[in-house]
């Protein structure tokens, strides 16, 4: 990383995509909103995916992901580069998820009487992407649903470190920072979660069509990268 992006003569970097997360948040601390937009672009999917696997509801997951990013912006000045930015961000997300899960356990299920946003006529309708291939979505849908279900069956206290490790590839030390658990506890919980996950997905592992879906999804991911 050269200094050309950060020298005083060109205060705005030529491309934010080239910067590390930590450099971007440093620019956010200096008031550069575009740097924050880049961080949102990088982390919205990861946050959403992680939170969705914790709470199970896409609408709720989106809201919590947005709340996480908003808190990161508002409290950007509190970030110090003693930990990776992703560790800090997922600490916020994990705390929000835990609070949400705790709230749900305390209150009984309630049915909202408010109309769904799409029904009140005030929210703009999101137009469908004309270039999207609907068959692509169907390919991974069944596999995604089964994996999501298998993940949700893992107890929450094991699921958090498991997902942080498997999906976000955080180190054990980082997971320790995010969750506040001891290192040994992180290790044992990840181990137990893997055992449980493996038991849950055992029936899927010999399903040829699902394995083909997996290969197609991986090929698509590699093509996007």
């Amino acid at each position: 990383m050269t200094d050309r992006h950060l020298d005083s003569q060109s205060p705005r970097p030529q491309t934010y995509a080239d910067l590390r997360d930590e450099e971007l948040i440093a620019l956010v601390q200096q008031g550069q909103k575009r740097a924050y937009d880049e961080l949102v672009r990088r982390f919205k999917g990861r946050l959403f995916s992680f939170i969705l696997r914790m709470v199970g509801d896409p609408v709720e997951a989106e809201e919590l992901a947005q709340d996480t990013l908003i808190r990161a912006y508002i409290h950007a000045d509190k970030y110090r580069e003693i930990a990776r930015f992703s560790t800090w961000l997922f600490t916020i997300a994990t705390n929000l998820v835990r609070n949400q899960v705790r709230k749900k356990k305390r209150r009984p299920y309630m049915l909202s009487l408010d109309p769904a946003p799409e029904d009140d006529g005030q929210m703009p309708v999101d137009p469908a992407d004309p270039h999207a291939d609907p068959t692509q979505d169907l390919e991974g849908e069944e596999l995604g649903r089964l994996i999501a279900e298998a993940t949700r069956q893992i107890p929450e206290k094991y699921r958090i470190p498991f997902l942080l490790r498997e999906i976000e590839e955080l180190s054990y030390e980082e997971i320790q920072q995010v969750t506040g658990l001891k290192l040994g506890t992180v290790r044992s919980r990840i181990n137990r979660a893997r055992n449980r996950f493996r038991s849950n997905i055992k029936p899927l592992l010999k399903n040829e069509s699902l394995l083909e879906d997996l290969e197609r999804l991986e090929a698509r991911m590699n093509a996007d990268d």
């Binding site: 995916s49 896409p58 908003i70 999101d126 999906i167 893997r194 592992l205």
Partner: protein
């Protein structure tokens, strides 16, 4: 090596945390154990499935985020300073504020009682005789020289006037009963006449009269409290315990 130990080592190996010296032991075990070999293969396949089936948020995610962020920033910027902490304002402790508002309320109640209550009581009060509110002509000599003399002289008729009720309405009756301030000769008064004289009435009332009315109000408050106690006793038998708790909190 037992399989559960091997499973733990496989988990560490997947994360690149298995110590080098333990790797040969694990490999030796896996060579002879189909169950653990399948276990490792399943974990690796499961990790691939997890990675490949990550979800994406909706297309509306970013603009909704922007809306919420703008709102959060506006709320943070527009957070109001509590009025009693605003610069240049007199800072009331809540106790003083409460005391002041209580005094203001009491003064308003007294003023209302002096202005309205006599007529209202006559309309509501029981007894055999209907309540009447009438103007009373009082001898100047009875009232005596006082600060209100000049005002009284400006009124028509020349004698000072006072509002009262007929003795037929019993004082101290339960509820809002009529009361007697004093007894004097009574003249019927038409509404227009009352209106002409009314502005001067307050100025002509003596301190003793007002004190009498305050005493009457205190009696009424005592009566209401006594009724509340009776009601509370009744409610204790019932299921309206929340009223009791509110009363306890107030005390």
């Amino acid at each position: 090596m037992r399989c559960d130990k091997a499973h733990s080592m496989i988990s560490l190996e997947m994360d690149g945390l298995l110590p080098h010296e333990q790797t040969p032991h694990l490999e030796r075990h896996l060579t002879g154990c189909d169950v653990c070999r399948d276990f490792r293969a399943d974990l690796l396949l499961g990790a691939r499935m997890l990675q490949a089936t990550g979800a994406e948020p909706s297309d509306a995610f970013e603009w909704k985020l922007q809306l919420k962020l703008n709102q959060a920033l506006q709320e943070a910027a527009g957070a109001r300073v509590p009025w009693d902490e605003a610069p240049g304002r007199f800072s009331f402790g809540w106790v003083r504020g409460f005391a002041l508002s209580s005094v203001a309320g009491l003064a308003a109640t007294l003023a209302l009682a002096v202005w309205v209550l006599p007529q209202g009581l006559n309309a509501i009060g029981g007894g055999d005789e209907p309540a009447r509110t009438e103007l009373v002509q009082v001898d100047d000599s009875a009232v005596g020289a006082s600060a209100g003399d000049a005002d009284r002289r400006s009124l028509t008729p020349t004698a000072s006037t006072r509002l009262t009720t007929l003795p037929g309405n019993p004082a101290g009756a339960s509820g809002l009963g009529a009361r007697t301030v004093n007894q004097a000769r009574v003249f019927d008064m038409d509404p227009q006449g009352a209106k002409d004289i009314w502005p001067g009435t307050m100025r002509s009332r003596s301190l003793a009269t007002l004190q009498g009315e305050v005493a009457w109000l205190r009696d009424q408050v005592r009566q209401v409290r006594s009724e509340n106690d009776s009601l509370r006793a009744l409610l204790k038998d019932g299921s309206m315990g929340y009223l009791e708790r509110n009363e306890t909190r107030r005390e």
